[in-house]
């Protein structure tokens, strides 16, 4: 099956080594790794924001050759930063995601992310968690075929973490390829596939359960599974790196 997202030779100097990535339609992928390991760089490189790449195609279409309007339908990128400088209303921020105005689409998103009570408020006055939902609605608005989301679950209430995971699952089931950079490795189990990024490259590409048991995981995070929870890896338990 041809992948929805096919990235070859994506690299960012000093941050990401030449990497290939393929995402299939319907996949919900977790991108994990220690801080500074390159999770964000991977997503940025695969979105074509930073660095260089041999090719980035979405459903066979060259991403970087597409017009901005077309590109938003192909791939949606959500950065980790929640900054909002301007007092734009929530509704208008969501609408920014659409090249052609579509009030019904905006309304649908506002209701699915429970933003009705905030719809008229200025986004720069919301809490970080509320802003996170608004910005997510924005990236979802044009119905992109691929979603690359950088830490969308941080700063969210537990209710919203679960709701968003459910939402993303629904979107993936609809044929979208979704990759999510995660900080909280506990959440990995909700995903189909896990990528471990460390030292600027993908170290492991496994199912979440295999990932948790694997030695790459233990080496990268320096913790390993214990009876109930986690414990620090012992130095002997860590495979020394060449």
């Amino acid at each position: 099956m041809t992948p929805v997202l096919d990235v070859r030779g994506a690299s960012i100097p000093a941050r990401l080594r030449s990497t290939a990535l393929r995402l299939d339609a319907g996949e919900l992928v977790a991108v994990i790794g220690p801080n500074g390991g390159g999770k964000t760089s991977l997503l940025r490189g695969c979105s074509g924001i930073d660095g260089s790449a041999e090719s980035i195609t979405v459903a066979g279409e060259d991403l970087r050759a597409a017009s901005p309007a077309r590109r938003s339908h192909l791939l949606g990128y959500l950065p980790a930063s929640r900054d909002a400088v301007w007092p734009i209303s929530v509704r208008d921020v969501v609408a920014l995601g659409l090249a052609v105005p579509d009030a019904r689409r905006v309304d649908a998103l506002i209701s699915s992310l429970e933003l009705e009570s905030l719809a008229g408020r200025a986004v720069d006055r919301l809490s970080t968690g509320e802003r996170a939902r608004v910005l997510l609605a924005r990236v979802l608005a044009p119905n992109p075929m691929v979603l690359l989301l950088d830490e969308p679950l941080s700063n969210l209430d537990p209710y919203w973490v679960l709701r968003l995971l459910g939402l993303l699952r629904g979107i993936a089931d609809g044929g979208v390829a979704v990759a999510v950079a995660l900080h909280d490795i506990e959440r990995m189990t909700a995903f189909d596939r896990a990528l471990l990024v460390d030292g600027g490259e993908i170290r492991a590409d496994l199912s979440p359960s295999a990932m948790l048991a694997g030695r790459e995981f233990a080496r990268a995070f320096r913790i390993e599974r214990a009876a109930a929870g986690w414990r620090l890896s012992s130095p002997a338990g860590r495979r020394s790196s060449p």
Partner: protein, 321 residues
């Protein structure tokens, strides 16, 4: 929105007409006795001043809005970032020391001065600097350029030059000719059109540079283009009228109130509001105490400072929240 736009256009035309025709007495009196001369009075003497007030104000408004979008900072404006002062220094150095006499060359030197100041700002503060850092760096550059301008004028060959520093640092729209207005406004109009073409990108910049890049735009290139276009437009106007402050801060603020916060869409409203503000300020100066000339920039500064303080206070409130 169309209706509101038409209303704004009408209001602007009314203010411009007031600026052109008031005081009405001399014009009417002349018209009765010598209509041809009355027309000459309007077209040769008053029209350049009105065009400059409208155009320079629009340039300040639009470039202020664009700079604020690119710096993601409601305090960025041609004067606070040091652009206007740099332009004045460039024009003064060229005219008084290097004896550059051609008006187009002078406008180019004004543009170059503004570019250098803004480039210096980018080096000192970086584009994503917090509000306070940008403000401090911009004010430092502004003060330094202003002092340098006064120094150049004090040491210039002509002993009259020193007394010109008021005009360069505080602006003047008086006794300008149509050719001078063209020198300022033709390049300025061109640059403003190019800025308007970037409205959508500047709107999307509100979502952050990463999102902008993910949509296929190049944030760094857009920033450089906006800075360059603003510098050229402001520089050309400063070379004819001197530096006028605070319009580039107030007009975009009001413009964003009209567009409900969108920084890119605010370019055109900010231009209209900037033009209206400068026309009104110059009208007020015209009806000031007889025999005394108050430079128009003094009025805009006095009116604009309270708003400046208000913005700073609100920024602090947001950071604290």
């Amino acid at each position: 929105m169309k209706g509101a736009g038409a209303l704004v256009g009408l209001a602007l035309a009314a203010i411009a007409a007031a600026h052109l025709f008031l005081p009405l007495g001399p014009v009417l009196a002349l018209h009765r006795s010598d209509p041809a001369t009355a027309e000459l009075l309007l077209t040769q003497l008053r029209l350049p001043s009105t065009l400059l007030a409208l155009g320079y104000g629009a340039v300040l408004g639009m470039s202020g809005a664009a700079l604020q979008a690119v710096f993601a900072n409601p305090l960025a404006s041609p004067d606070i970032t040091g652009g206007s002062s740099g332009a004045a220094l460039g024009a003064v150095l060229a005219a008084y020391w290097f004896e550059v006499s051609g008006p187009i060359a002078l406008a180019a030197c004004g543009g170059a001065g503004a570019l250098v100041a803004l480039a210096l700002l980018l080096t000192l503060a970086g584009r994503n600097a917090a509000g306070a850092t940008l403000l401090l760096a911009g004010l430092a550059i502004s003060l330094a350029a202003g002092a340098a301008t006064s120094l150049v004028l004090a040491l210039a060959p002509s002993p009259f030059a020193f007394y010109d520093s008021f005009e360069w640092l505080m602006g003047s729209l008086v006794d300008r000719s149509l050719p001078q207005a063209a020198t300022a406004l033709v390049p300025a109009a061109f640059c403003c059109l190019l800025l308007l073409a970037r409205s959508r990108a500047l709107d999307l910049m509100a979502l952050g540079e990463d999102v902008l890049a993910s949509l296929g735009y190049r944030p760094r290139r857009i920033a450089i283009e906006v800075v360059a276009l603003s510098a050229i437009a402001v520089g050309a106007c400063v070379s004819v009228c001197g530096a006028i402050g605070f319009v580039g801060l107030i007009a975009p603020y009001a413009g964003r109130l009209v567009t409900r916060g969108h920084p890119g869409r605010a370019l055109l409203p900010s231009a209209a509001i900037g033009g209206a503000l400068l026309l009104l300020a110059d009208l007020a100066v015209r009806f000031g105490p007889a025999g005394r000339t108050i430079p128009v920039g003094v009025l805009t500064t006095v009116a604009g400072t309270p708003l400046f303080v208000w913005i700073v206070v609100r920024m602090r409130a947001r950071v604290a929240a």
